[in-house]
């Protein structure tokens, strides 16, 4: 397990950390020979698709049906990538530590907390955010149900709630109020709109439409 308290010491900025890393790095030679952001796997004698030393690395993925080809720092979370790089600010940052669900998006159809993974880990994946749910001007049935049932007050948790609610029905975990509450527990609502959220989900589930 790597631990390096150096980073917390005043005066040890990223540049110094970077320099000390480069000193140790066996990839230094490889970098000198292969300039540019990418150090190819062959040079490092590893079966690695990407190997970069503190540089941006290439990332291809699809967000709401749009293909993106970018280059980003590996430490960028999927959440920050969506919000900062793509300006898709519908996905919210609540806690940034997996504790609230405000950042819930779908990756290849599965709901996940976008704050707890790095964007580069989603190479080749299809992401859906709250912006990708409606069909043009036509709201998704879950969005309509949230409006109808007042499934929110301040609205901050709502994009995450809706993404989670859609997945909850698709997963087949919305058969009873108890099951909905259990499988929606990863989405916290500080305004306490829970009963209205459950009502919205039950209506969509009961309506039997494809979500």
């Amino acid at each position: 397990m790597a631990m390096n308290s150096e980073h917390d010491t005043p005066g040890t900025g990223p540049d110094e950390a970077r320099r000390s890393f480069l000193k140790q790095s066996s990839l230094l030679t490889a970098m000198a020979l292969v300039p540019g952001p990418l150090v190819q796997a062959a040079a490092a004698e590893l079966d690695e698709k990407v190997a970069a030393v503190f540089e941006k690395i290439p990332l291809k993925l699809e967000v709401n049906g749009v293909k993106h080809k970018v280059s980003i720092e590996p430490r960028t979370t999927l959440l920050d990538f969506l919000r900062e790089n793509l300006n898709l600010t519908g996905t919210k940052k609540g806690c940034d530590y997996g504790q609230c669900g405000a950042c819930t998006v779908h990756v290849d159809g599965q709901r996940v907390n976008s704050c707890l993974s790095f964007a580069v880990m989603h190479e080749g994946k299809k992401i859906t955010t709250i912006e990708g749910l409606a069909q043009g001007d036509k709201l998704h049935p879950m969005q309509e149900a949230f409006v109808k049932h007042d499934g929110f007050q301040c609205g901050y948790c709502t994009p995450g709630q809706i993404m989670s609610a859609v997945a909850c029905i698709r997963e087949g975990k919305a058969d009873s109020e108890g099951e909905i509450r259990e499988y929606m527990s990863g989405n916290i609502c500080r305004c306490g709109a829970y009963s209205n959220i459950v009502a919205a989900i039950q209506e969509v589930k009961g309506g039997g439409q494809k979500v």
Partner: protein, 328 residues
């Protein structure tokens, strides 16, 4: 967050080499624990080896055992038909952990290797021998509500937070590992270690060793099982204390075999072998469960804020056994 190098090997040996040869490198699977700890500066790897391209997601229903790949998702395992039929206790424990979203990211390997939630470990301004050996244990004389009552040392009183691991230790699982020196199997009870003088070391894994799978042997525990988790809200919270219970009953409701383990009480999932033995041959009654619970709690010792666990422990054991016995 510190910067790091990111690699994504497609071959197992390359992943192992990448970590074995670089003391600052670490594997990343779902990322739900590691990314959290990196954001807080608790862990600062200089190189992340993303293992998600390795073919380790399968759940194989072999005769006599289930082999669950290290990269199988917690949600996939919990919903798997074979797991639910052959190891219902494991499915219950998995579903008691985290949230639906997190279980969609969390892997079986990552789950067992998740690190303690001790608040002194998480707070880099506090002393913690696990995070920074030699700085002392903040919890020993500090706020220790969540902490251990078994197996602690004067260097560390943290507990292991995984729910899944409590079921796996009860079910006599075996961890399959591949490392620089080849492959080996580790009985689940020997994967995690007690803190002793080296609380920085959570497990008996060697540097670069990759968990490839966990084997869960078939047993008679397909019906009378229960995972009882006590937490501060109804869902989406770590256990204050938990109990995995499994019983094999004969037609007269006498106990042929029993398995018991506790979570939230020690630096590792805590198997209660003596209590299990005391149950064998007894009728499945509250009186038998009470006696077993008393045996289970022998040697427990509380700190300033966690004395409640000395009562909660036996009560939860009794409750878990009662519920397991009454599964129709």
């Amino acid at each position: 967050m510190n910067q790091f190098q990111y690699v994504r090997p497609t071959k197992q040996q390359a992943a192992i080499d990448a970590v074995a040869k670089d003391a600052t490198a670490t594997f990343i699977a779902g990322g739900t624990n590691l990314v959290d700890l990196m954001k807080r500066g608790v862990m600062t790897p200089q190189k992340l080896v993303d293992i998600n391209r390795l073919p380790l997601t399968r759940i194989d229903a072999d005769p006599g055992k289930l082999r669950i790949g290290a990269l199988a998702l917690n949600s996939t395992v919990a919903d798997d038909k074979q797991v639910r039929e052959r190891q219902p206790l494991l499915a219950l424990a998995l579903n008691a952990g985290a949230s639906a979203q997190l279980r969609n990211m969390a892997t079986v390997g990552g789950n067992m290797l998740q690190r303690t939630r001790c608040s002194y470990f998480y707070d880099t301004t506090m002393p913690c021998n696990k995070r920074e050996p030699g700085t002392g244990c903040g919890a020993l004389e500090g706020i220790n509500r969540m902490h251990a009552i078994f197996g602690f040392s004067d260097k560390c009183i943290a507990v292991h937070p995984s729910d899944m691991s409590v079921a796996l230790v009860a079910l006599d699982a075996t961890v399959q590992v591949s490392g620089p020196k080849g492959n080996r199997s580790i009985p689940f009870a020997e994967l995690h270690r007690l803190p002793g003088d080296m609380p920085q070391k959570d497990t008996t894994l060697e540097p670069g060793e990759l968990i490839t799978a966990v084997d869960v042997p078939d047993g008679p525990f397909t019906k009378h099982v229960h995972y009882q988790k006590v937490r501060e809200r109804a869902s989406y919270a770590f256990a204050l204390l938990s109990v995995a219970a499994a019983l094999d009953l004969d037609s007269n409701n006498n106990i042929k075999a029993a398995r018991l383990a506790m979570g939230g009480v020690a630096h590792k999932p805590w198997r209660l072998t003596a209590a299990e033995q005391a149950l064998v041959g007894k009728p499945a009654t509250e009186e038998s469960f009470r006696q077993a619970a008393a045996i289970a709690m022998q040697g427990a010792k509380a700190f300033q804020h966690n004395a409640y666990k000395l009562k909660l422990g036996p009560n939860t054991i009794i409750q878990a056994l009662k519920t397991a016995a009454s599964v129709a």
